[in-house]
Protein backbone atom coordinates (compact mmCIF):
# COMPACT_ATOMS: atom_id res chain seq x y z
CA UNK A 1 0.00 0.00 0.00
CA UNK A 2 1.08 3.56 -0.58
CA UNK A 3 1.05 4.22 3.14
CA UNK A 4 2.84 6.60 5.46
CA UNK A 5 5.56 4.00 6.05
CA UNK A 6 6.93 4.20 2.51
CA UNK A 7 9.30 7.04 3.24
CA UNK A 8 12.22 6.68 0.83
CA UNK A 9 12.93 10.00 -0.89
CA UNK A 10 10.51 12.20 1.02
CA UNK A 11 11.66 15.66 1.99
CA UNK A 12 10.89 17.90 4.90
CA UNK A 13 10.76 15.37 7.72
CA UNK A 14 13.32 17.24 9.78
CA UNK A 15 16.80 16.62 11.19
CA UNK A 16 17.94 13.15 12.16
CA UNK A 17 19.12 14.26 15.58
CA UNK A 18 21.21 11.29 16.67
CA UNK A 19 21.30 11.07 20.45
CA UNK A 20 24.65 10.68 22.18
CA UNK A 21 24.84 7.58 24.38
CA UNK A 22 21.24 6.78 23.58
CA UNK A 23 19.60 4.46 26.14
CA UNK A 24 17.90 1.29 24.90
CA UNK A 25 14.59 2.58 26.23
CA UNK A 26 13.35 6.10 26.88
CA UNK A 27 10.51 5.11 29.22
CA UNK A 28 9.40 2.08 31.19
CA UNK A 29 6.36 1.61 28.94
CA UNK A 30 8.67 1.07 25.96
CA UNK A 31 10.14 -1.98 27.69
CA UNK A 32 6.68 -3.40 28.26
CA UNK A 33 5.70 -2.57 24.65
CA UNK A 34 8.67 -4.55 23.35
CA UNK A 35 7.97 -7.54 25.58
CA UNK A 36 4.23 -7.56 24.97
CA UNK A 37 4.68 -7.31 21.20
CA UNK A 38 7.13 -10.20 21.09
CA UNK A 39 5.01 -12.26 23.50
CA UNK A 40 1.88 -11.81 21.39
CA UNK A 41 3.83 -12.62 18.23
CA UNK A 42 4.56 -15.98 19.85
CA UNK A 43 0.83 -16.83 19.76
CA UNK A 44 1.38 -17.86 16.15
CA UNK A 45 -1.93 -16.20 15.20
CA UNK A 46 -0.49 -13.77 12.66
CA UNK A 47 2.66 -13.43 10.60
CA UNK A 48 5.37 -10.81 10.73
CA UNK A 49 4.06 -9.59 7.37
CA UNK A 50 0.56 -9.11 8.74
CA UNK A 51 1.97 -7.17 11.69
CA UNK A 52 3.97 -4.92 9.33
CA UNK A 53 0.80 -4.28 7.36
CA UNK A 54 -1.09 -3.39 10.55
CA UNK A 55 1.61 -0.81 11.35
CA UNK A 56 1.64 0.77 7.90
CA UNK A 57 -2.18 0.91 7.93
CA UNK A 58 -2.17 3.43 10.75
CA UNK A 59 -3.50 6.82 9.64
CA UNK A 60 -0.60 8.91 8.26
CA UNK A 61 -0.87 11.71 10.86
CA UNK A 62 -0.58 9.15 13.65
CA UNK A 63 2.15 7.09 11.98
CA UNK A 64 4.32 10.12 11.28
CA UNK A 65 4.03 11.61 14.74
CA UNK A 66 4.29 8.41 16.80
CA UNK A 67 7.43 6.85 18.19
CA UNK A 68 8.12 3.38 16.82
CA UNK A 69 7.06 1.66 20.03
CA UNK A 70 3.76 3.57 19.84
CA UNK A 71 3.34 2.32 16.28
CA UNK A 72 3.94 -1.20 17.57
CA UNK A 73 1.39 -0.85 20.36
CA UNK A 74 -1.34 0.61 18.16
CA UNK A 75 -0.85 -2.09 15.53
CA UNK A 76 -0.77 -4.80 18.17
CA UNK A 77 -4.14 -3.65 19.52
CA UNK A 78 -5.53 -3.99 16.00
CA UNK A 79 -4.11 -7.49 15.60
CA UNK A 80 -5.35 -8.68 18.99
CA UNK A 81 -8.87 -7.42 18.23
CA UNK A 82 -8.86 -8.73 14.66
CA UNK A 83 -7.91 -12.21 15.83
CA UNK A 84 -10.38 -12.34 18.70
CA UNK A 85 -8.02 -12.22 21.67
CA UNK A 86 -9.30 -8.96 23.14
CA UNK A 87 -12.04 -6.40 22.58
CA UNK A 88 -12.02 -2.63 22.42
CA UNK A 89 -14.21 -2.56 25.53
CA UNK A 90 -11.48 -4.43 27.39
CA UNK A 91 -8.86 -1.93 26.25
CA UNK A 92 -11.16 0.90 27.31
CA UNK A 93 -11.73 -0.52 30.80
CA UNK A 94 -8.26 -1.98 31.20
CA UNK A 95 -9.61 -5.32 32.39
CA UNK A 96 -10.77 -8.68 31.07
CA UNK A 97 -14.50 -8.69 30.34
CA UNK A 98 -14.87 -11.97 28.48
CA UNK A 99 -12.85 -15.01 27.68
CA UNK A 100 -11.38 -14.60 24.23
CA UNK A 101 -9.66 -16.88 21.80
CA UNK A 102 -7.00 -19.29 23.08
CA UNK A 103 -3.61 -18.97 21.41
CA UNK A 104 -1.56 -21.93 20.18
CA UNK A 105 1.21 -20.91 22.54
CA UNK A 106 1.74 -18.56 25.47
CA UNK A 107 5.33 -17.40 25.87
CA UNK A 108 6.53 -18.26 29.36
CA UNK A 109 9.67 -16.82 30.91
CA UNK A 110 11.56 -20.09 30.58
CA UNK A 111 10.86 -20.17 26.83
CA UNK A 112 12.21 -16.71 26.08
CA UNK A 113 15.89 -17.57 25.59
CA UNK A 114 15.07 -20.38 23.17
CA UNK A 115 12.52 -18.40 21.18
CA UNK A 116 14.80 -15.38 20.76
CA UNK A 117 17.77 -17.58 19.86
CA UNK A 118 15.76 -19.39 17.17
CA UNK A 119 14.00 -16.41 15.66
CA UNK A 120 11.72 -16.97 12.67
CA UNK A 121 13.64 -17.95 9.56
CA UNK A 122 11.62 -17.26 6.40
CA UNK A 123 13.69 -18.90 3.71
CA UNK A 124 11.69 -21.64 1.99
CA UNK A 125 12.56 -23.97 -0.88
CA UNK A 126 10.96 -23.48 -4.29
CA UNK A 127 10.84 -26.10 -7.03
CA UNK A 128 11.79 -23.89 -9.96
CA UNK A 129 15.07 -22.24 -10.92
CA UNK A 130 15.58 -18.48 -10.55
CA UNK A 131 14.21 -16.55 -13.53
CA UNK A 132 16.94 -13.93 -13.39
CA UNK A 133 20.71 -14.25 -13.22
CA UNK A 134 23.44 -12.20 -11.58
CA UNK A 135 24.44 -9.37 -13.92
CA UNK A 136 21.11 -9.30 -15.72
CA UNK A 137 19.38 -5.97 -16.28
CA UNK A 138 15.80 -5.93 -15.00
CA UNK A 139 12.99 -3.46 -14.56
CA UNK A 140 10.85 -3.28 -11.44
CA UNK A 141 7.13 -3.33 -11.95
CA UNK A 142 4.91 -0.33 -11.69
CA UNK A 143 2.03 -1.17 -9.41
CA UNK A 144 0.15 0.50 -6.59
CA UNK A 145 -1.65 -2.19 -4.63
CA UNK A 146 -3.80 -1.16 -1.68
CA UNK A 147 -2.45 -4.28 0.02
CA UNK A 148 0.96 -5.01 1.55
CA UNK A 149 4.04 -4.90 -0.63
CA UNK A 150 7.76 -4.57 -0.01
CA UNK A 151 8.56 -2.80 -3.27
CA UNK A 152 9.02 0.83 -2.23
CA UNK A 153 7.46 3.53 -4.40
CA UNK A 154 10.82 5.11 -5.22
CA UNK A 155 11.99 1.82 -6.75
CA UNK A 156 8.99 1.09 -9.00
CA UNK A 157 9.38 1.07 -12.80
CA UNK A 158 13.13 1.48 -12.48
CA UNK A 159 15.89 -0.30 -14.38
CA UNK A 160 18.59 -1.95 -12.31
CA UNK A 161 21.00 -4.85 -12.28
CA UNK A 162 20.68 -8.14 -10.41
CA UNK A 163 23.67 -8.24 -8.09
CA UNK A 164 22.86 -11.40 -6.15
CA UNK A 165 20.35 -14.21 -6.04
CA UNK A 166 19.75 -14.41 -2.30
CA UNK A 167 17.69 -17.58 -2.06
CA UNK A 168 13.96 -18.14 -1.90
CA UNK A 169 11.79 -16.56 0.75
CA UNK A 170 8.20 -16.25 1.95
CA UNK A 171 6.37 -13.72 -0.26
CA UNK A 172 5.12 -10.97 2.05
CA UNK A 173 2.57 -9.52 -0.37
CA UNK A 174 0.57 -12.77 -0.02
CA UNK A 175 1.58 -13.81 3.46
CA UNK A 176 0.42 -10.53 5.01
CA UNK A 177 -3.12 -11.29 3.91
CA UNK A 178 -3.51 -14.93 4.86
CA UNK A 179 -2.90 -16.15 1.32
CA UNK A 180 -0.05 -18.46 2.26
CA UNK A 181 3.71 -18.19 2.15
CA UNK A 182 4.06 -18.75 -1.63
CA UNK A 183 7.87 -18.48 -1.57
CA UNK A 184 9.72 -16.83 -4.44
CA UNK A 185 13.30 -16.18 -5.41
CA UNK A 186 14.72 -13.01 -3.92
CA UNK A 187 17.25 -10.80 -5.68
CA UNK A 188 19.41 -7.89 -4.65
CA UNK A 189 18.85 -5.33 -7.39
CA UNK A 190 21.07 -2.27 -7.56
CA UNK A 191 20.14 1.03 -9.19
CA UNK A 192 22.18 4.07 -10.10
CA UNK A 193 20.91 7.08 -8.19
CA UNK A 194 20.32 8.81 -11.55
CA UNK A 195 17.78 6.13 -12.51
CA UNK A 196 15.86 6.63 -9.29
CA UNK A 197 16.19 10.33 -8.60
CA UNK A 198 16.96 11.76 -12.04
CA UNK A 199 18.33 15.26 -12.39
CA UNK A 200 20.66 16.29 -9.62
CA UNK A 201 21.18 12.78 -8.28
CA UNK A 202 24.46 12.05 -6.51
CA UNK A 203 26.64 10.50 -9.27
CA UNK A 204 28.58 8.47 -6.70
CA UNK A 205 25.44 6.85 -5.24
CA UNK A 206 23.93 3.45 -5.90
CA UNK A 207 20.95 2.08 -3.99
CA UNK A 208 19.88 -1.53 -3.72
CA UNK A 209 16.67 -3.22 -2.66
CA UNK A 210 15.90 -6.87 -2.08
CA UNK A 211 13.19 -7.71 -4.59
CA UNK A 212 10.99 -10.77 -4.92
CA UNK A 213 10.90 -12.34 -8.37
CA UNK A 214 7.38 -11.18 -9.17
CA UNK A 215 8.46 -7.55 -8.65
CA UNK A 216 10.80 -7.85 -11.63
CA UNK A 217 10.43 -7.91 -15.41
CA UNK A 218 12.87 -8.62 -18.19
CA UNK A 219 14.17 -5.59 -20.04
Amino acid sequence: MNGPHDLGGQHGLGPIAPEKDEPYFHAEWEKRALGITLSCGAFGAWTLDESRHARESLPPPIYLSASYYEIWVRALETLLKRHGFITQAELDTGHMLEKGREPKRVLKAEMVAGVLATGGPCDRPVDRPPRFAVGQTVRTKNFNPKTHTRLPRYARAKVGVVEAVQGSFVFPDDNAHGKGENPQWLYTVVFDAGEIWGEGADPTLTVSIDAWESYLERV
Binding site: P15, W29, R32, V73, L91, T93, K99, T118, G120
Partner: protein
Protein backbone atom coordinates in the same frame (compact mmCIF):
# COMPACT_ATOMS: atom_id res chain seq x y z
CA UNK B 1 3.98 11.67 41.96
CA UNK B 2 1.35 12.52 44.55
CA UNK B 3 3.70 15.07 46.07
CA UNK B 4 3.09 17.24 43.04
CA UNK B 5 0.03 19.42 43.39
CA UNK B 6 -1.75 21.14 40.57
CA UNK B 7 -3.10 24.61 41.08
CA UNK B 8 -6.84 24.84 41.60
CA UNK B 9 -7.30 26.63 38.34
CA UNK B 10 -6.92 23.46 36.25
CA UNK B 11 -10.13 22.39 34.62
CA UNK B 12 -9.83 18.71 35.29
CA UNK B 13 -8.13 16.35 37.65
CA UNK B 14 -5.94 13.45 36.59
CA UNK B 15 -6.17 10.51 38.92
CA UNK B 16 -2.64 9.56 37.94
CA UNK B 17 0.28 11.05 36.10
CA UNK B 18 0.59 8.39 33.45
CA UNK B 19 1.26 9.66 29.99
CA UNK B 20 -1.15 8.45 27.35
CA UNK B 21 1.22 5.72 26.26
CA UNK B 22 1.92 4.57 29.81
CA UNK B 23 -1.79 4.24 30.41
CA UNK B 24 -2.38 2.56 27.08
CA UNK B 25 0.33 -0.03 27.56
CA UNK B 26 -0.66 -0.63 31.18
CA UNK B 27 -4.24 -1.36 30.09
CA UNK B 28 -3.03 -3.70 27.37
CA UNK B 29 -0.68 -5.57 29.68
CA UNK B 30 -3.33 -5.87 32.38
CA UNK B 31 -5.96 -7.27 30.03
CA UNK B 32 -3.52 -9.73 28.47
CA UNK B 33 -2.23 -10.85 31.87
CA UNK B 34 -5.73 -11.33 33.28
CA UNK B 35 -6.51 -13.51 30.27
CA UNK B 36 -3.37 -15.57 30.77
CA UNK B 37 -2.14 -14.58 27.32
CA UNK B 38 1.16 -13.14 28.47
CA UNK B 39 3.58 -13.90 31.25
CA UNK B 40 4.92 -10.66 32.79
CA UNK B 41 8.08 -12.52 33.71
CA UNK B 42 8.61 -13.41 30.06
CA UNK B 43 8.44 -9.70 29.29
CA UNK B 44 11.08 -9.05 31.95
CA UNK B 45 13.24 -11.76 30.38
CA UNK B 46 12.90 -10.25 26.90
CA UNK B 47 13.83 -6.80 28.17
CA UNK B 48 16.78 -8.17 30.11
CA UNK B 49 18.03 -9.99 27.02
CA UNK B 50 18.15 -6.79 24.96
CA UNK B 51 19.44 -4.64 27.82
CA UNK B 52 22.30 -6.90 28.82
CA UNK B 53 22.99 -9.72 26.36
CA UNK B 54 22.22 -8.79 22.77
CA UNK B 55 23.74 -5.51 21.64
CA UNK B 56 26.35 -3.90 19.40
CA UNK B 57 29.22 -5.56 21.26
CA UNK B 58 28.16 -8.73 19.41
CA UNK B 59 28.67 -7.06 16.05
CA UNK B 60 31.95 -5.55 17.21
CA UNK B 61 33.25 -9.07 17.91
CA UNK B 62 32.29 -10.09 14.38
CA UNK B 63 34.06 -7.11 12.82
CA UNK B 64 37.17 -7.48 14.98
CA UNK B 65 37.46 -11.12 13.98
CA UNK B 66 37.00 -10.27 10.31
CA UNK B 67 39.82 -7.71 10.60
CA UNK B 68 42.10 -10.24 12.30
CA UNK B 69 41.35 -13.43 10.44
CA UNK B 70 41.21 -13.38 6.61
CA UNK B 71 39.60 -16.81 6.49
CA UNK B 72 36.81 -15.63 8.78
CA UNK B 73 36.42 -12.46 6.68
CA UNK B 74 36.06 -14.60 3.59
CA UNK B 75 33.47 -16.80 5.29
CA UNK B 76 31.62 -13.68 6.44
CA UNK B 77 31.48 -12.48 2.82
CA UNK B 78 30.20 -15.81 1.53
CA UNK B 79 27.87 -16.89 4.33
CA UNK B 80 27.44 -14.24 6.99
CA UNK B 81 24.67 -16.09 8.81
CA UNK B 82 26.89 -19.13 9.46
CA UNK B 83 30.05 -17.15 10.15
CA UNK B 84 28.24 -14.95 12.69
CA UNK B 85 26.51 -17.95 14.27
CA UNK B 86 29.93 -19.55 14.81
CA UNK B 87 30.58 -16.76 17.33
CA UNK B 88 27.30 -17.52 19.10
CA UNK B 89 25.22 -14.70 17.62
CA UNK B 90 22.01 -15.80 15.93
CA UNK B 91 18.26 -15.71 16.30
CA UNK B 92 15.56 -13.08 16.09
CA UNK B 93 16.24 -10.46 13.39
CA UNK B 94 19.51 -12.14 12.53
CA UNK B 95 18.16 -15.22 10.80
CA UNK B 96 19.45 -14.17 7.36
CA UNK B 97 22.58 -12.05 7.65
CA UNK B 98 24.65 -10.34 4.98
CA UNK B 99 27.92 -8.56 5.68
CA UNK B 100 28.95 -5.67 3.42
CA UNK B 101 32.55 -4.49 3.52
CA UNK B 102 33.67 -0.90 3.23
CA UNK B 103 36.65 -0.44 0.92
CA UNK B 104 38.90 2.48 0.01
CA UNK B 105 36.50 3.11 -2.90
CA UNK B 106 33.07 2.45 -1.42
CA UNK B 107 31.21 3.32 1.77
CA UNK B 108 28.14 1.27 2.71
CA UNK B 109 25.06 2.58 4.52
CA UNK B 110 22.08 0.54 5.71
CA UNK B 111 18.49 1.72 6.03
CA UNK B 112 14.98 0.31 6.11
CA UNK B 113 12.78 2.83 4.30
CA UNK B 114 9.61 0.77 4.84
CA UNK B 115 9.79 -0.03 8.55
CA UNK B 116 12.64 -0.56 10.99
CA UNK B 117 14.43 -3.74 9.86
CA UNK B 118 17.72 -3.97 11.74
CA UNK B 119 20.12 -6.81 12.58
CA UNK B 120 19.13 -7.34 16.22
CA UNK B 121 21.31 -10.43 16.65
CA UNK B 122 24.49 -8.40 16.13
CA UNK B 123 23.47 -4.81 16.94
CA UNK B 124 20.65 -5.23 19.46
CA UNK B 125 17.66 -2.89 19.41
CA UNK B 126 17.83 -0.06 16.88
CA UNK B 127 18.27 3.55 18.01
CA UNK B 128 15.27 5.86 17.71
CA UNK B 129 16.73 7.81 14.79
CA UNK B 130 17.12 4.63 12.72
CA UNK B 131 13.37 3.96 13.01
CA UNK B 132 12.24 7.56 12.54
CA UNK B 133 11.08 9.27 9.33
CA UNK B 134 14.00 11.70 8.84
CA UNK B 135 16.64 8.97 8.46
CA UNK B 136 14.39 6.55 6.60
CA UNK B 137 13.35 9.18 4.06
CA UNK B 138 16.72 10.73 3.32
CA UNK B 139 19.24 7.89 3.51
CA UNK B 140 18.34 6.74 -0.01
CA UNK B 141 18.21 10.15 -1.70
CA UNK B 142 20.79 12.23 0.17
CA UNK B 143 23.16 9.95 2.05
CA UNK B 144 25.92 12.55 2.06
CA UNK B 145 23.61 15.00 3.77
CA UNK B 146 22.63 12.30 6.25
CA UNK B 147 26.24 11.40 6.98
CA UNK B 148 27.10 15.07 7.49
CA UNK B 149 24.52 15.17 10.29
CA UNK B 150 26.48 12.40 11.95
CA UNK B 151 29.67 14.41 11.49
CA UNK B 152 31.00 12.17 8.72
CA UNK B 153 32.25 13.94 5.60
CA UNK B 154 33.34 11.51 2.90
CA UNK B 155 35.57 12.57 0.04
CA UNK B 156 33.69 13.61 -3.09
CA UNK B 157 35.09 10.64 -5.04
CA UNK B 158 34.06 8.02 -2.50
CA UNK B 159 31.22 5.90 -3.85
CA UNK B 160 28.25 5.39 -1.58
CA UNK B 161 26.18 2.25 -1.63
CA UNK B 162 22.91 2.32 0.28
CA UNK B 163 21.27 -0.98 1.18
CA UNK B 164 17.51 -0.69 1.70
CA UNK B 165 16.48 -3.68 3.84
CA UNK B 166 13.23 -4.41 2.04
CA UNK B 167 13.25 -8.18 2.71
CA UNK B 168 14.36 -10.43 5.57
CA UNK B 169 18.07 -10.04 4.89
CA UNK B 170 19.75 -8.07 7.64
CA UNK B 171 22.86 -6.09 6.77
CA UNK B 172 26.00 -5.57 8.86
CA UNK B 173 28.53 -3.04 7.61
CA UNK B 174 32.14 -4.10 8.16
CA UNK B 175 34.01 -0.79 8.42
CA UNK B 176 37.59 -0.42 7.24
CA UNK B 177 40.19 -1.32 9.81
CA UNK B 178 41.67 1.90 11.20
CA UNK B 179 45.30 2.73 10.55
CA UNK B 180 47.78 2.26 13.36
CA UNK B 181 46.18 -0.93 14.66
CA UNK B 182 48.81 -3.43 13.54
CA UNK B 183 49.29 -6.07 16.18
CA UNK B 184 46.09 -5.18 18.06
CA UNK B 185 44.28 -8.08 19.69
CA UNK B 186 40.69 -8.83 18.71
CA UNK B 187 39.58 -7.41 22.05
CA UNK B 188 41.43 -4.16 21.42
CA UNK B 189 40.07 -3.97 17.87
CA UNK B 190 36.50 -4.55 19.05
CA UNK B 191 36.78 -1.41 21.18
CA UNK B 192 37.14 0.61 17.97
CA UNK B 193 33.93 -0.74 16.41
CA UNK B 194 30.93 1.42 17.22
CA UNK B 195 27.30 0.65 16.55
CA UNK B 196 27.08 3.47 14.03
CA UNK B 197 30.13 2.21 12.15
CA UNK B 198 28.24 -1.06 11.58
CA UNK B 199 25.18 0.82 10.23
CA UNK B 200 27.41 3.01 8.08
CA UNK B 201 26.74 6.37 9.70
CA UNK B 202 30.28 6.46 11.11
CA UNK B 203 33.73 5.01 10.57
CA UNK B 204 35.49 2.81 13.08
CA UNK B 205 37.33 4.81 15.73
CA UNK B 206 41.01 5.52 15.44
CA UNK B 207 43.10 4.24 18.39
CA UNK B 208 43.56 7.88 19.45
CA UNK B 209 39.82 8.61 19.36
CA UNK B 210 39.04 5.48 21.36
CA UNK B 211 41.33 6.52 24.22
Amino acid sequence: MSEHHHGDGHGHHHDNHFTDMEARVKALETVLTEKGLIDPEAIDAIVETYETKVGPRNGARVVAKAWSDPEFADWLKRDATAAIASLGFAGRQGEHMRAVFNTPDTHNLVVCTLCSCYPWAVLGLPPVWYKAPPYRSRAVIDPRGVLAEFGLELSAEKKIRVWDSTAELRYLVVPERPEGTEGFSEDALAELVTRDSMIGTALALSPEAAR
